[in-house]
Subunit: 448 residues, 2 copies
């Protein structure tokens, strides 16, 4: 396909006309499709129905150590659940604290306690004039919403395929004591699907923050969420690396079974150092007597062990891999060579990150919405919903059926092309300045 | 039985000797009994095993409105659960927000949000120099632990059979803007088992607090936890009464199914006005995507409706009523007429409140512990664990078997008698001053 940047105004005009007709056709279909959130689809949910039989009225709801899961107590979670989730998170069960149904809530709580009481005896954040936070971008909107809620000033840090910009992070945390944390989705990141490389993890574990109460919020949401058997991303385990680096208390790690069993009815957990765990437990015991142990036991009985969970995740992959591939194929077929977009092709996780031309993301999302395809609002992947380039869009391919997804992705590419073609047409000179000046430079060097 | 206050020193000395021997015998039994917490017993837990069959792998986990309980969403809880819990709490489903597994956590969260963000636009409590709280005493230790955690100054308010001292409350909240809340367990109170009378509830609904962000924390934990079919306590419904009084936003009401199904695996809820609910929802959506809907559905399918729950509670009553009656009988048989103790005999709830002589509660609890019977630590029923009279002990009769409970209660009365007899013996003059001065007064008046 011919690059939109190499088309003449006449060619662009004709292209816009063709695309408008196509778009009209889609509008006529009265679609109602949703690619906005990382939600499992029906087939995926059906995979966990067996969990509903894991406990019945004849079952013994006692743990291996005799604890009756039906009664009060066991703040840190039942031992066998800590073993299972420990294997899932690649941590020792002793470093695990099992929570309720939502890892987002665990992260919120962690910040709330730091705000109310402070981290390990440090000044509570509510008593400080300013608290700042590092936010790799594009990133996860619900992370940013939590720090925004607490009035924490968010500083964007650019992401690359290797992870966030470590030079910038090392520099900022070393010199600014008001920086108290960073949001990380280190594996199959939201929204790019990138996994931090070894160097990045090593450097994270060796950070020298000015603030004693600085913590890395390591949201390993997609640790076992591979799309492929044969090419999977591996991540250095951060707790172990921090311990080796002499910084055992530097990180809080989060995970849950939300996208393994049932979102909202899974179990969430934090993994961290013994010091951090003690600090958390002492506060958590004011908050609750304990989380849902019956549901913890249900998960343990359903999976048996980590191998059971891994096999279960292969079934998830079988359902959603074709969806990722379909979107990537449609993007390639419709957008490759046009010089208006790039996108990620991850090995796992729940999202594809899509970048179009500067100033087009909102228009594209809006256009798709108007034709019945709901996308994550443009800007969501940035703190305060402010994408300075207005060019990043998060694609969530899991929820629609494969057929619906193909329709949605095709329509999406029409919207991208239409919006971009118009923007280039309307700003033709601007888009061709570089070319012109390139040519000029060429000329100049030629004359030399 | 002869009052200890009417015994001579010799009689007391002989009594102490008898009691010491009895106590020794109990020590020889090497008991390991627990009357410390309001925990359901095995038989009670067994009553809810049917709930484990309410959902199985063949079940349709959809709500009446089509919502798939297995996926993300529905922050306020599924409609049918709000209907069931609404019936349980005597509130309109529209006023209900279903939470996770712990009403304690709901209360903690409510204070945390007030502390972090403030109530309905008022100054966040973390920005105030001083926040105070009213605490009817004796009361619930976990309530007091939450307010202590937030550094809130707790002011004890005396309880009577009618409820807390309303004159004092009306006076304090009207003149002190730093008082932001009050802990109430209005029905079958913890630990007395008292239920607030109509006048008390009416006066609560008509409070005129100086602080706009003052709220009544109405923990109706034992709303359907009757011991008897024929004599049950009734409580005026506080939300409706507040609305009638023109104070619709004055109260947050809390409840859960912890002592109905499984503690830790039940569902908790808040009921409050539309204004308060909006304030809560706006903040809660930063905290979580939603609570465990599958467990909500499980509860709904198990009970069917409120009548099902009420019938279920009759079975609970049948299990624990004999326990309350056994304790009360043993107390009467062993302590009545001795002038050293009084206790409550509630119609519902989970506790009996026991008052002994001033300065004896710690000693009694300690003595019982040393003979293998664990009691709630003395002082726990007061803010900061400081019972100024050191005379209140909370008795939790539900958890031990009936036989064990009888042994524990009998031993307990031996401890009470032994400690009190010694205290009277050692402070004989003090305990008889009143009598002497009564006699003196008598003499004086005689001479007139």
């Amino acid at each position: 396909m011919k690059s939109y940047l190499k088309m003449s105004k006449n060619e662009l005009s004709a292209e816009i006309e063709r695309l408008r007709k196509k778009y009209k056709k889609y509008q006529g279909l009265e679609l109602k499709l949703d690619m906005s959130r990382g939600k499992p689809c029906l087939e995926q949910l059906d995979l966990s129905m067996g969990m509903m039989d894991a406990l019945n009225s004849e079952a013994d709801l006692s743990c291996e150590d005799g604890t009756d899961c039906r009664n009060y107590g066991v703040l840190e979670g039942i031992h066998e659940a800590r073993v299972l989730i420990g294997d899932m998170m690649e941590n020792n069960p002793d470093n695990i604290l099992i929570y309720g149904n939502s890892s987002l809530n665990v992260m919120y709580d962690q910040i709330a306690r730091s705000y109310i009481q402070g981290v390990m005896g440090n000044t509570p954040w509510c008593k400080l004039d300013k608290v700042k936070w590092l936010c790799p971008v594009p990133g996860y909107d619900r992370h940013f919403a939590i720090t925004e809620y607490f009035g924490i000033e968010m500083i964007p840090v650019p992401m690359s395929k290797k992870g966030p910009d470590m030079d910038m992070i090392e520099d900022l945390v070393a010199k600014d004591e008001s920086i108290k944390g960073i949001w990380c989705v280190p594996k199959y990141s939201n929204p790019q699907g990138y996994s931090y490389n070894d160097e990045t993890v090593r450097r994270f574990a060796r950070l020298k923050p000015a603030a004693k109460d600085f913590r890395i919020y390591w949201d390993n949401a997609y640790g076992v969420h591979h799309l492929y058997d044969d090419h999977q991303d591996y991540l250095i385990e951060i707790l172990a690396e921090c311990k080796r680096a002499g910084n055992p208390d530097l990180v809080y790690k989060f995970s849950s079974t939300s996208k393994i069993t049932f979102p909202g009815s899974g179990i969430a957990a934090i993994a961290t150092s013994p010091n951090n765990l003690e600090d958390i437990r002492e506060q958590l015991r004011q908050q609750t007597i304990g989380h849902d142990k019956v549901n913890q036991l249900r998960h343990v009985r359903f999976f048996g062990d980590i191998h059971g969970m891994v096999e279960h995740m292969r079934k998830h992959a079988d359902v959603i891999r074709p969806k990722f591939e379909a979107v990537e194929t449609i993007f390639r077929e419709n957008l490759e060579g046009l010089d208006i977009a790039e996108w990620t092709e991850p090995n796992g996780g729940y999202f594809i990150s899509f970048n179009s031309l500067k100033g087009t993301a909102k228009k594209i999302v809006d256009k798709a919405n108007k034709a019945g395809v709901k996308l994550t609002p443009a800007g969501s992947t940035w703190p305060y919903h402010k994408d300075p380039n207005d060019n990043n869009i998060r694609i969530a391919p899991t929820y629609p059926t494969l057929d619906d997804l193909k329709t949605a992705a095709s329509l999406f590419t029409v919207c991208v092309k239409l919006v971009c073609a118009k923007v280039i047409f309307e700003n033709f000179e601007e888009y061709h300045i570089e070319e012109a000046s390139d040519a000029k430079t060429q000329e100049t060097s030629d004359t030399k």
